[in-house]
């Protein structure tokens, strides 16, 4: 069936455009493609946590490169979501050191209490569960990353509840500004 109206073309917000402009000054003029990864991060934050083909085309247009050059990159790196996601994407580290400290149990527990299966989203659209490889915080295992924030030492149901409650109280914002109070414990106490 033909769609009756063409989908509106996505546009970057003025703030994002300013950030992209700043990023482009970091690389030689004839090498602006270097900014592709950071711009895809901005695009993902701007457009609901994933990059649709339309958004990727917009990125290609912004950098004056072919769409395929964006697709091959977005499909290579695990942080870019190519399908719609829930309001909060929980990236659970499952690699060796985290597994030794109970990441398998954490994943099962999260599946149970969020109603989402790994790789999927909870029925109410709040949580997407994603298993990822080593997040480089092995000494504070097990860990979950949500956007820019690390939640560490999630080896008790209480710690997991505290994380979920904090997330539920957040208004959906494109990028979480990093607040000092939000530093993971491991970075507060050396």
């Amino acid at each position: 069936m033909e769609p009756t109206t063409a989908p509106t073309k996505p546009q970057f917000s003025p703030a994002a455009q300013a950030e992209i402009k700043r990023l482009l000054t970091h690389y030689p003029e004839d090498r602006s493609k270097s900014a592709l990864l950071p711009i895809l991060h901005i695009a993902q934050a701007e457009f609901g946590g994933w990059v649709s083909p339309e958004v990727q085309n917009l990125v290609a247009e912004t950098l004056n490169i072919k769409p395929i050059e964006v697709y091959e990159v977005s499909s290579f790196y695990t942080q870019y979501n190519l399908k719609p996601v829930g309001k909060h994407v929980l990236e659970i580290c499952r690699t060796g050191p985290c597994m030794l400290r109970g990441s398998d149990e954490l994943t099962e527990h999260l599946e149970r209490i969020t109603g989402a299966k790994v790789g999927g989203t909870s029925p109410d659209g709040t949580f997407t569960l994603k298993e990822v490889e080593c997040l480089a915080a092995c000494g504070f295992a097990p860990i979950v990353q949500v956007r820019e924030k690390y939640y560490e030492q999630l080896d008790t149901p209480e710690a997991v509840d505290a994380m979920l409650n904090e997330l539920k109280s957040l208004v959906h914002r494109p990028i979480l500004p990093w607040e000092e109070t939000g530093l993971p414990n491991s970075l507060k106490n050396y």
Binding site: A35, L37, Q79, E133, C134, A137, W178
Partner: protein, 446 residues
């Protein structure tokens, strides 16, 4: 407690700000280098220090720097590898978030030594919050005149930028990192040409790990000879060890190279022993790619000497009875650990992270994962154990980059030292696949 060259002030309130960092002697190495030394003299000091690549390879940094091609009129680059993703390693994240100015100072001094006018810090995409900490610190350094045009009136100018990755372990390999920095997929390049000749944008480039660049600061401040006095033999200076797994006190420890492994694991000054009063079963001493060793062989070499935390002592016995210091990702496993499950987990990691351009790695890592999955879940055969060794052998040495070896070594070593555990999974599948099951019998030494 040995000297702390990098982390001495890590817990000072506000050390992440320019002002406090400066008060504690920050940026002295930049002043010293730019005002009193030629670039070649800086390289010479680093050579004298005996500093070796802290990212895992252990290649002498001064030598790497002196390989840099210097054609007239062509830009050169220093790129910092902050793509820390080796399982078990988490030192750089800590160092950058708490001491961003230390890395920036090292980058300025290093860039001056190499004659780079633009330098990049390539940080893994998961650490976007660390990127913001670094950007804030870079802005402070610009404002204070330590970055930008004509630094401290020396006539030397430098621009420094941070660039995020987006989740790919392979981008920690230097040539894949450069591809990624150019906005492409992280596929490692064939060498030669080496980055020293054709790196970023096909220009001469040096890629160094975060800790390596940070170590340049004390080396220039105190002199290479002073730095070389610390440590043992060819393992000079201090090293950050990230300890994790079944330890009472996991975390980051800056040690003077040469601390006995036993002391590192059991003394209260360091890891404080194995958690829950259990017994140690095995250790992976340098990040997931290095061979695993059973308790007996990690504490003592095959010849019965105490093992020390040095490049040489840990690799004593080659890959038969030894391992590597690698990146310093120290993973301890207690007696309840199932080695087969752990090996399967690591194999899954390498399969997931293989970039896919070389067949032996793309297919081989998948085979390893499948066979280990089979064994772990009680469907394996004795033949499978030999198959693992044979597949690992066929990956090793047949790939463009070292990810092939990184995937093969842990498997080969696990079978070498813990074959009885694999066999137990074949002979007693019911028992071995029970939740939380682990072989608790006697270890059989190779």
């Amino acid at each position: 407690m040995g000297r702390k060259l990098l982390t001495e002030h890590i817990n000072v309130e506000g050390i992440n700000t320019f002002e406090v960092y400066r008060k504690h002697g920050g940026y002295r190495s930049v002043e010293k280098a730019l005002k009193t030394m030629t670039p070649d003299e800086v390289v010479e000091e680093v050579k004298k220090s005996g500093l070796r690549g802290r990212g895992g390879a252990g290649f002498p940094t001064g030598m790497k720097w002196s390989f840099l091609a210097k054609p007239e009129g062509v830009p050169r680059y220093l790129v910092c590898n902050a793509d820390e993703s080796e399982p078990g390693t988490f030192k750089d994240r800590q160092l950058m978030s708490k001491l961003p100015h230390l890395l920036i100072e090292g980058m300025i001094t290093g860039s001056y030594a190499l004659g780079a006018r633009t330098s990049y810090i390539y940080i893994r995409g998961e650490l976007l919050y660390v990127l913001r900490i670094l950007e804030k610190a870079i802005a402070e350094a610009y404002a204070a005149g330590f970055l930008g045009e004509n630094i401290l009136g020396s006539g030397y100018s430098l621009d420094l930028h941070v660039h995020p990755g987006a989740g790919a372990y392979i981008c920690g390999e230097e040539t894949a990192l450069l591809e990624s920095l150019e906005g492409k997929r992280g596929n490692p390049r064939n060498k030669p040409p080496f980055p020293a000749v054709q790196g970023l944008y096909a220009r001469p480039t040096v890629v160094n790990n975060v800790e390596t660049i940070a170590a340049v600061v004390p080396i220039i401040n105190e002199g290479g000879d002073e730095y070389a006095k610390l440590g043992v033999g060819k393992s000079t200076g201090t090293k950050l060890i990230s300890a994790c797994g079944h330890l009472n006190k996991p975390g980051i420890y800056e040690i003077e190279l040469g601390v006995p492994v036993e002391e590192f694991i059991y003394s209260d000054e360091y890891c404080g022993g194995i958690w829950k009063g259990r017994d140690l079963k095995a250790v992976v001493a340098g990040g997931s790619s290095v061979p695993i060793l059973p308790k007996e062989l990690i504490l003592k070499t095959a010849a019965g000497e105490n093992r020390l935390m040095t490049y040489e002592s840990l690799s004593d016995g080659g890959f038969v009875t030894g391992t590597m210091l690698g990146s310093g990702g120290f993973i301890a496993m207690d007696e309840t650990t199932c080695i087969v499950k752990n090996t399967w987990n690591f194999s899954r990691f390498y399969h997931h992270e293989s970039c896919g351009q070389c067949s032996p790695c793309r297919e081989g890592t998948g085979w390893l994962e499948k066979v280990l999955h089979r064994l772990e879940h009680g469907h394996g055969s004795m033949h499978d154990i030999d198959l693992l060794v044979s597949v690992a052998k066929q990956i090793e040495g047949n790939t463009i980059c070292p990810l092939g070896e990184a995937a093969a070594w842990p498997v080969a070593a696990a079978v070498r030292h813990f074959r009885h555990e694999f066999e137990w999974h074949v002979t007693n599948p019911k028992e071995a696949t029970a939740p939380g099951a682990a072989y608790r019998g006697a270890a059989v030494l190779a």
